[in-house]
Every structure is written in C-alpha cells, then in structure tokens.
Symmetry: C2
Subunit: 482 residues, 2 copies
C-alpha cells in the first residue's frame, strides 16, 4: 500500500486539537499538584523519548501520554504559584490563545507582501505598548525573540554608527582606534556575550563598578573610564544601561549615563528586559527617567507582563540607521509596495518571522491593560509584604532595595560570621526550599557574596503564596545541613 | 469595583480555545476559497486594527471576528494548493498540534534545569532528523529561528576559530590580516548580511562566480580568489556553500569546496535551508555529497518538510568551539547538574528558548517519516511534470536544472528578442497569474535576467494543481499588456 501523503486532515486535526485543549486546560488547572522544580535526573527524558525516529504514524493518544508522563515532570512549573525563581515567566492564557491562532494560520513573515497583517499588527501592538508605557512616538518598535538578541542588534547598530556603516568599508577590521563598550558589573550576561559576538573584543568591554547599596552603575566611574579610553586613543561606541538588573533589580541612572555618553557620541542601549513591564504603571515611571534620551530600549512582555515567550520588544529612535545596518533586498523579495511599507526583515537578524504580534494582540485585547496593571500592582505589594516581614525579623537581611518585585534575602544564623560559611548557608537553605517541591527560589552571587532571590510575580502567586514561602524560608534555615 | 487580576481562567480558556480550534479547522478546510496572494493595500490592516490600546477586556467573539475579517485577507495563503511563491512554507497540522502543546505548557528554556525536557527533547529530535538525513553522529544539532541566524552563528564561530577566540583579546579589531569570506553570487542574501553583522566588512566578502548552466559555484574561481587573498596578506576564514540556492535550487560542489577551504583552514558552512528536506530521500543524497566534510550544516524543517515556522536546524561538528564562542555562565544560572547536561544557551545567540522541539516531535510522530518522504516524492514528480510540459512547448524555456521541486521558467513570445522587453514580459505574465488569486509565483533575477520561479511543494498541492498552474501560465502570456 502507498503511504498516505497527507496525514492529518483538518477534520482529524479538529478531533485531536479538542483533546489537546482539554489536556492544556486540565494541566493549567492542576499546576499546584506538581513539584515546582523539575526533579528529573540528567538523561531521564532523553532515555524515555529516545526511540528510533518514527517511520509510521503513531496514535495521538501515545503522544499525549508522553506529554503527561515525561514532558510535564520534565519541566519547571513556571506557572505555579510557588514559582519564585529567575524571573516571572508568565504565559497568560490570553496570549496562549493568540499563539494558537498564529500557529493555526501558519502565515509566513518574510516581507510585508508575504503577510501584510503580520507586519501591520506588529506595528499596532508595539505602538500600543509604547503608549501604555508612556513613551513618545519618537520610538519605533519590533518584536525579537529575546533580550539577548535585542541587545546584540543594538550593539551592532552602535558599532555601525561609530564606524559610519561598515558596508562600504573593511568592517570592524579596518578600525585603527578600538571601539569600547560600557556596562555595569551587574549587567546581564547577554551584554558581555553581545560585545564578543559583535566583535568588539573582551579587552574593549568595560565593566563599570556599582554603588554598594543600590547596585546601580557608578556614573562618575563611567565618566572617568570613558575619558581614560579616549586619552589612550580608543573610541567609546556604546553604553548599556540596565533598568532592573537580574541580580537585585537595580536601576542605573539613564539620564546621567546619556549625558556622559553623548559627549562621546556613544550609543545608549537600555536593557529593561524584566523591569520594563513596570512602565505600564505610571507610579513606577520615575524609575525609568531618562529613557527618552537613549538610542534603543528593550524589554520583554514575555517576563512579568505575561505574554508567552518569545516576545521581546526593541524600540529604536533612528530606524533609518537600523535599516542601513540590517537590510537586504534581493530580487525575489521585491514588490511594488516596497517604498510604502515596513519591512521588519530589515530591522533585525532573521528574515523569516512568526506571527508573534498575535499573542500580544490577544493578550492586550482579552485581558485589557487595566487588569494587567492590577496584577503588577498586586505583585509589588506582595514583594513589599515579604521585604517588611524579613526586615522585621532580626535574623534576616533584605540586601538590596526592593524597587519592584524581587526581594534579595540573606539569613544570618546566630554566631556564624565566616563569609564563606555564610555564603554556603544561603545556598543550602535555598536548596532545602527547592527540594520540598512547594516553591522554587534562585541563589545568586552579587558583588562577591551569595544571596537568595525571591522573584515574586507568577500570575498565580497571591499573598497567601508569598506568606507560605516566608514560612518555608524560616523553616529551612533551622534544619541542620546533612 | 476592583479590576480582575486574573482574567482568563483555565475553564474560560477551555471554552474559548475550543471555539478557536473549530475556527482553525474550518480555516484550513476552506483555504482554497481565498485569493492566494493577499490583495490588501498598505495600511489597510493597520487602519482596521489600530484602535487605542484596550483598557478593558474585549469579548473573545470580537477578536475572532477580526481574525476572520482582517487577518485572514491580510495574509498570503501559504497553505493553499495554488501557493508556488518563494519556497514551500508548510505548517503541517501535526506540527501545529505540537506548537499548541508547547504554548499551553508555557515552559521556560533558559538552562537545562529550567526545563530538562525542553533540552533533551531537542537533543532527541535533532538526532532523529540527523539519522533520517543519513548524517553521521559526528554532528550535533540545535534548533534556531531561521537560517539567517544559523548562518550568522556559523560565521561567528568561523571568525572566532580564525582568531583563536577573541575573548582574551581585542576582538576582530585586533586583527592585522583581514579575514575574508566566500560564497557564490547565487548565495542567499542572509550570507552577505551575516558577513556584515559579524564585522568582516563588505570589502572582505568575495562573491564567487557560478557556472552559467548549473548556477553552482565555480570552484576553480574560488581557488584563485583564495590564493589571491592570501598573496595579498588576507586570511580566508569561511566559505558558505549553498545546497539548493534560492534562485534556481543550484547545488554547489561541497566536496571540492571543502578541499579548497581546508588548505587555508577556512570554516565551511553549508546552507541547505530549503533543500535540506531532500536529504530525507536516499535517492537525493548524491546532491549532498561532501557535507560530512563541512564544519556546519543548516536546513529548515519549516520550509518544504513542513514543520511550522520557526524551526531551523544548525548542525556543527565542533561543539566545544561553539560553546567557547557562545557560552555565558552567571551565578544565577548555575546548577549542580551543569557538567552533565546540554546547555543550548551556549550554542547560539538567545538565552531564552521556546519549546520548539515539540513541533518537530509531534510532526515526526504523528506523520511518520514514510508519509513525509512520500509527500516530498510527490512534489519532485509534480515539478518534473511541469518541467517536461514546458520543455515540450516551443515558447517556453526551463532555464535551470530542476534538481528538486523548483521550476524556473521564461516565456519567449514570437518576435520579441530585446532583453529588457523579455525581462519585462516575464514579470508581467507572473503578475497576471498572481492577480487571478488562483496561484502565486515569484519572479526573480538570476545572473542578470528575469525568470519566474515556480516552487512546487505546498502540502496541499497535487498534480491537478500544478496542471492548473501550467494552464494559467499559457493563458497569462497571451493576454496583451495594458
């Protein structure tokens, strides 16, 4: 018999997809029944799934069964109320619906012509979020996969601006005066990675010290480092300002940084990957003062705001420059409408584009901005509750300002003063919490010492869940190490 | 009244999602009822959708209505049987189910620990496809968004290998001997873009001429260009070999290219974005001879094979080098299991990762490799049918070898010999076809002259659809221009 050429018809899809929807709804409704941190051993999933490549179609039930038995235990439950690790990685069900619509439609985003709606909806939603964040219309936004990519794109634009577009020249290899890039010691690891990938070289990355209380960039030190580099024949090309660092949610002073950078013509990229969601709240906008003076500004709706990954926004002021750096225009992608429309392929690295705007569009329309703001405010209040509880307890230290929803804790057991022992202790009590399966927190090293980050802000996390975590914290520090 | 903090509950999601599934199944079942090419004017979608940002939740019905009335007319129907444009951009319903499962799960891929199943399933499916393509286990694969990104990743690895890792040094800025990169004049536009983004500079990109019949790279010319560069004090760093060019599906001779490149220690990246799917067919493997000698090899299951976008595979041999170039290891991402597991964050640009493996896993399990191969073979046969029909008709020229499923056509009207008039004529008859709404083809300029690419391979395209297109072709050339 000839093998079937077309396997799943729309009618077969309908039946399977309805089953899958019920599975997803059940999964989301019962997310508290699983340990928050996945407890599978390295290789366990691979062993469970790694049969030879399937030659014949398998029943949908078998795939669904593996989803239940192998995949679910194999992932951290980021949607659980006890999830306080890394950063909120919300996947709101509104945005899941949008993602499903995008998948079902199966559109191809390569040029405007290939899917005008994919391009123009992206213009609409990036404008909506710009307005909701109180940014002026000097900014033009596009959706990238992650803040790492957005930061690399910004650094590439900075490099090209500093070298008057390498296209007609020898690229970075023709530069005689090395270009330098600046970011604080608390900047995300993607900044250093972007600097290396963009070819600046690690020797030309300056990690600027931070204030010992706020962990914000020391702008006086930045000024001196830039002056020293210029004196030594180097050229400052870019500064990455962090608004809401990964370690402690510290906010660099963008206004002052921009002032210093502009004296050297250096590009200022603002990385607000996690914290950008707070711009939706007018009362938080002072934390973002100065952003309007930057050259590029990135933040991730796929974090705290809750549009499902991957959904990272990059706004730039000088779109013309961006297009000069990222454009391609082969014959087979040309169309009559070229001059009048946005070609997002010329705004970043990939040519092909998913219909990512759909998940933001569904999310904003089905939730409404007011409900999203209410949830963010709930999380701010819950973080303050935890900080106050820890502050009031003499054994605990809240070791960084709680600007938003991350609380950095250190526990000081009576009589323990050795720094190494104290560091070990923090990692140990965090591990004890994580091993319970009821909550998941992340230890981190900040300026040389270990602390534990409690990142409040999963959609499902209510005050009672933060209170339960606080109780877990106090229990975990009093259990002797094995 | 306080705004609701949690908008869509799992039960509300269940109701809306079932409606959405029916919409998707209906849409897929009726895809032939719409013009293949979207006929909306620039700005029409934006005007239709661009209300102020929504403050309050809107009814799901309203969103669904806009999906029907605005979004669907606003996209090219890439899943329609009359879609012959650009390249097959199949979004198989098997893979849509997998994409939906990934969305519903909402897992976070940053490290192995954040979602072991996300990492290990990606290992499993990239291995499955490696085996199905007949590649040895010397290759290690990961999923990227697009071939543009995969090519940039390969070029960055090449740059770093050529400079013994820039991390400890001055980056590309410290190089005294310029690094050069080679690709054929028929290579995809993403190659030149990648060369510029990686900082090599346009002056250091060599476009190697192609054979005038096969459009494959002239390897003798490559050899001479490399020798000339070395004589001039430059250093060949990378060659991009195209297997299946965008214009005519030409195949470079990777075996010979690798031989020439290895004499200079240059990295060989194989770009088989569209054509890679053909490796699933043992009878097509000779087209890929020599791939095993390359350093990296990329192809897109999201094209002809039909796993929904974005799903681009990049295989490399030297994973150690890749990790040295792309790794980051901040404290907050460390875990006890680090040494034993794969950390895909260190294999490419982004840190955060969607559960992209799921769509490949669903696709392969629910369809089975045999059905996928049968469909690819159907498309090869249909393309041959069209090529033979055109060959047999004295007015038509099949102007490049039909290696796979793309047929490049030129029509020669009696008495027209002026090259510019002939070029215009090709664009005109293509436009007449596209304006019918019944099919969509792409004109392209190949080595200076315009032809029309018929890219056979939409999942829904059967022989009768190719025959209907052929009839459209013959009708379209005999209508007078306005």
């Amino acid at each position: 018999m000839m093998p079937r050429v077309w396997t799943v018809t729309p009618e077969e899809f309908r039946v399977a997809a309805h089953q899958l929807i019920d599975w997803i709804a059940d999964y989301r409704a019962t997310v508290t029944q699983r340990p928050v941190r996945s407890e599978v051993a390295p290789g366990w999933v691979r062993d469970a799934l790694g049969a030879p490549p399937p030659e014949a179609p398998e029943p949908f039930e078998d795939v669904l069964q593996d989803l239940r038995d192998v995949v679910v235990p194999g992932v951290t439950q980021t949607q659980a109320p006890g999830y306080f690790a890394w950063f909120p990685s919300n996947a709101s069900l509104e945005s899941v619906l949008g993602d499903m619509a995008a998948s079902g439609l199966g559109a191809l985003g390569i040029t405007w012509q290939s899917a005008p709606a994919l391009t123009e909806m992206e213009e609409v939603v990036t404008d909506w979020l710009r307005e909701l964040c109180g940014l002026t219309d000097a900014w033009h936004g596009a959706i990238h996969d992650t803040a790492s990519t957005a930061c690399l794109v910004a650094l590439l634009a900075a490099r090209e601006r500093a070298t008057a577009i390498s296209e007609d020249r020898g690229g970075l290899q023709a530069e005689s005066a090395p270009l330098t890039v600046y970011a604080s010691t608390q900047a995300h690891s993607s900044v250093a990675k972007g600097v290396l990938l963009a070819g600046f070289g690690r020797d030309n990355l300056r990690l600027v010290p931070v204030d010992s209380v706020t962990y914000a960039m020391d702008v006086t030190a930045l000024r001196h480092m830039m002056a020293d580099d210029v004196a030594a024949g180097r050229r400052p090309a870019a500064v990455v300002a962090s608004l809401g660092t990964t370690g402690t949610t510290a906010f660099d002073d963008v206004m002052s940084i921009t002032e210093v950078a502009s004296a050297h013509g250096a590009w200022v990229h603002v990385d607000a990957a996690m914290a950008g969601s707070a711009m939706l709240l007018p009362e938080c906008r002072t934390l973002f003062t100065g952003v309007e003076g930057a050259d590029s500004f990135g933040w991730n709706p796929h974090k705290w705001m809750g549009t499902i990954l991957d959904c990272s926004l990059l706004y730039v002021r000088d779109v013309e420059l961006l297009i000069r750096v990222f454009s391609t225009n082969p014959s087979y992608l040309r169309a009559a409408s070229d001059g009048e429309v946005t070609q997002y392929k010329d705004w970043g690295i990939p040519l092909g584009r998913r219909f990512r705007a759909m998940k933001l569009w569904f999310h904003l329309r089905l939730a409404g901005a007011e409900a999203i703001r209410a949830r963010l405010r709930r999380d701010l209040a819950n973080a303050q509750w935890l900080a106050q509880a820890a502050d009031a307890d003499g054994e605990w230290e809240v070791c960084a300002p709680v600007a938003l929803q991350t609380v950095c804790l250190r526990h000081h057991p009576a009589g323990v003063t050795d720094p190494a022992a104290l560091d070990r202790h923090q990692q140990e009590w965090a591990e004890r919490i994580n091993a319970t399966g009821r909550a998941f927190v992340t230890p981190a090293q900040v300026e040389g010492r270990w602390l534990v980050r409690v990142s409040v802000g999963a959609e499902a996390t209510e005050l009672q869940d933060v209170a339960a975590l606080w109780q877990l914290c106090r229990q975990s520090v009093h259990v002797a190490s094995p």
